[in-house]
């Protein structure tokens, strides 16, 4: 279940850009998961649902794009909300 530590790493990245942009919350997160990345998208989503509670990502929508023939695991895009 390394998906939990991967989601944790993603949250650290998002938190850093959120602070840099003085955003209050996150509206959308887009990630791409390569077919050979060794990461299960369903488990990734489950881990995300556990982690986002009471964080600026609590109401953020997670979009996962599966990429065939790839071992990349990327945080593609975030949409930040500045109040």
């Amino acid at each position: 279940m390394h998906e939990y530590s991967i989601v944790q790493a993603m949250f650290e990245q998002i938190e850093q850009v959120r602070r840099e942009h003085h955003a209050s919350s996150v509206r959308r997160i887009r990630v791409s998961i390569g077919e050979f990345a060794g990461v299960d998208p369903t488990l990734f989503e489950s881990a995300y649902d556990v982690y986002r509670v009471r964080t600026p990502c609590e109401h953020a929508q997670l979009q996962i794009e599966r990429v065939p023939e790839s071992d990349e695991l990327l945080l593609d895009q975030v949409e930040l909300e500045v109040a």
């Binding site: 991967i6 650290e12 945080l75 500045v82």
Partner: protein, 241 residues
């Protein structure tokens, strides 16, 4: 706040990042790798199921290579110091990394583990990962080579069931081959065909830590790590260096 009219609407900032999610692990792995190369050390990430024979392979390696080269081991498990104790008894230095509940090692854990091992004096560092065919494959530790131990008792189709692990392997050690006479249903050819099907650059060796069969070829392979390989790997009697 909407700057234009002060209506109170939230402003949305879309940011294209395209960042690797494991970038911080990759930075730590790069740091480890620089350390290893600066000190002329070859680091091997040894992975495999629990019970695949990783520790036994390291014991056999200690017996075969321990007199000529300086070997060290970081042995990871969720709990206990058992593997490091076994390896030390085989005559090489070893330290445990107990991961608690973590199912894999990451580069930072290896870095911390190095603080307890006189690694700068080594020729070879073996990082015995947590027994697991899934999670360890995802984390770069700074190693020069990934080696997977696959025992013949695990089932011929393990490479097909856990392709990510075997795709990342530079070498697969097919272990416990001394048990083959007792396992009439296990087809060595099927194991090797399945490895050929999933490995990026298929390379495999049949070994027995108990009898020493295949261990000289494994040592020869180890010595080739970091140097250009002499020939492309192919199968045939399992000796494929």
């Amino acid at each position: 706040m909407c700057d234009a009219c002060g209506c109170g609407d939230t402003k949305v900032i879309p940011l294209d990042l395209h960042e690797r999610i494991l970038a911080s692990n990759e930075r730590a792995a790069h740091h480890n790798r620089e350390h290893f190369h600066d000190h002329g050390l070859v680091a091997v990430n040894l992975m495999g199921s629990p019970g695949a024979g990783k520790t036994a392979v390291l014991e056999a390696t200690a017996r075969a290579l321990g007199q000529q080269s300086r070997l060290g081991v970081l042995a990871a498990d969720l709990a206990t110091d058992n593997d490091a104790t076994r390896i030390r008894a085989a005559g090489i230095i070893a330290e445990s990394i107990t991961t608690g509940t973590a199912c894999h090692l990451d580069a930072e854990m290896v870095h911390h583990g190095l603080h307890h091992l006189p690694w700068r004096a080594l020729d070879f560092l073996f990082i015995e990962n947590v027994g697991n065919l899934v999670c360890p494959a995802v984390y770069d530790l700074g190693q020069d080579a990934n080696v997977v131990a696959l025992s013949i008792t695990e089932g011929e189709d393990k490479p097909l069931k856990y392709p990510t692990m075997f795709r990342k392997a530079d070498l697969v050690l097919i272990t416990k081959i001394d048990l083959l006479p007792a396992l009439p249903d296990v087809k060595m050819a099927t194991i090797e065909e399945n490895l050929m099907a999933v490995m990026t650059r298929p390379a495999m060796l049949r070994v027995s830590a108990r009898t020493g069969e295949g261990i000289p070829q494994w040592i020869q392979w180890l010595r080739s790590v970091g140097r250009p390989r002499t020939a492309p790997c192919a199968t045939g009697m399992g000796i494929t260096v």
